[in-house]
Symmetry: C2
Subunit: 192 residues, 2 copies
C-alpha cells in the first residue's frame, strides 16, 4: 500500500477522489545510502515523503563542512521548503542516510493537491505548525542544554534509527565536534 | 489608524467586512519596558501584533537563566504559538523590551477571523512558512557561524532597534556569554 495514503488515513477519512489523486501523483522509489535527491545550488523540483528509512538535509559552508538541518524518518516530509517558499535555488542538499522507501511528488502536483482538497491543505497547515514547534524546541535546546543532554534528546526523538546514523551526521546536527560525540556514544554503549 | 489594518492593506485589498471585524477584535495597548504580557506556566489567552517598539519571548531554565526565543518588532506577531498549537500551558514568557504599541487579540477571535476570512488564513499560512524559513536560517547560522558573525547578522535583521536592546537579551538570543557580547559591542561601537 502507498505509505502516504496510509499516513493520511490516520488523520482523515480518505475519499476515493483523494486516493486516486495521490496515487496519480506519487512516484514510489527505493533509495540507497548516499543517494543525493537534491543537490545544493539547484532548482528544486520535488518533495519527498519517507515511507521508511532515513533521509537528511544539510548545507555546506564555504569550507566544505556539512551542517545537518533535518533528519526525516517514517511519515516525515523532506525537501528545501525555505527555498521553495522563497522561489530560489536550493540552499540544502537532501541525501539518503539509510536505505529508504520514499514517495516523490513534483512541486506542482503537491501544491495542486492542497488547492484541490481542503482536507489536505488542513493537514499541511498542521504540519507547518508542528514544524515550527519542533524548530523552536531545537533552538531552545541548543541554548539551554549541554551537548550530552542534546544527544540524549536526539536519541529519544530518533530512537529507531539513531544507532544506524553515522557519527558525523549526528554531530553536524547537534553542533558538536564529531570526536566529542564519538566519546559520548562509546561511553553510552558501555553503560547500556 | 490601526496598525494591523495598515499591515494587512500592504498584502491584500482589505474589504469593509474584514476591516470592521479586525477593529472589533483589536485592543490597542501601550506597554512599558519590563511589562510581562505572558508569564511562563500560565494559560495563554492572547496573541499580540506589534505596531512599534519591541517585545521578546523567552524561557527560563531550571537555574533561572533566561533564553530568548524571539524578538518581535513592527508588524510582527508574538505569543507562545507552540503552546497554543499543543494546547498546553505557556513554556515562554513574553516581555516588553522597549516601550511598544501593540494590538492584543484573543485566541478565539484570532482563529475565528482565519475561519471567517480565507484571505486572512492565506496570510497566516504565508506567515507560518516565513517563520519556518526564519527558524531554519537561525539554526543553520547557529551551526555555521562564529559568535561575531551571528551578532553581525542580528544587527542587520534588527538594525532599527539593536542599540536599544539590553546586552543580556541579545546574548541570551545568540547563545553567547553576555561578557563576550559586551566586548564585541564595545569594539564595534569604537569602529563605527
Amino acid at each position: 500500500m502507498n505509505g502516504l495514503i496510509k499516513y493520511l488515513s490516520n488523520k482523515i477519512d480518505v475519499s476515493f477522489a483523494v486516493k486516486e489523486y495521490i496515487l496519480s501523483i506519487s512516484l514510489q522509489k527505493k533509495t540507497q545510502k548516499g543517494d543525493i535527491l537534491i543537490s545544493q545550488g539547484n532548482k528544486i523540483k520535488f518533495i519527498y515523503f519517507v515511507e521508511d528509512g532515513c533521509l537528511r538535509s544539510y548545507s555546506l559552508d564555504k569550507d566544505g563542512k556539512e551542517h545537518t538541518l533535518q533528519f526525516a524518518i517514517k511519515n516525515w516530509w523532506i525537501s528545501d521548503f525555505t527555498a521553495i517558499n522563497n522561489n530560489i535555488l536550493s540552499e540544502l542538499s537532501v541525501e539518503c542516510v539509510q536505505e529508504a522507501n520514499i514517495i516523490q511528488i513534483s512541486l506542482d502536483d503537491f501544491y495542486q493537491a492542497l488547492k484541490r482538497f481542503p482536507e489536505l491543505d488542513k493537514i499541511h497547515k498542521k504540519n507547518l505548525e508542528n514544524r515550527i514547534s519542533s524548530l523552536e524546541r531545537r533552538i531552545l535546546d541548543q541554548l539551554m542544554l549541554t551537548a550530552l543532554q542534546r544527544y540524549e534528546e536526539f536519541k529519544k526523538k530518533y530512537s529507531d534509527i539513531e544507532p544506524l546514523i553515522p557519527n558525523y551526521c549526528i554531530a553536524s546536527y547537534l553542533g558538536m565536534a564529531k570526536e566529542s560525540l564519538s566519546r559520548i556514544r562509546i561511553k553510552n554503549s558501555e553503560l547500556t
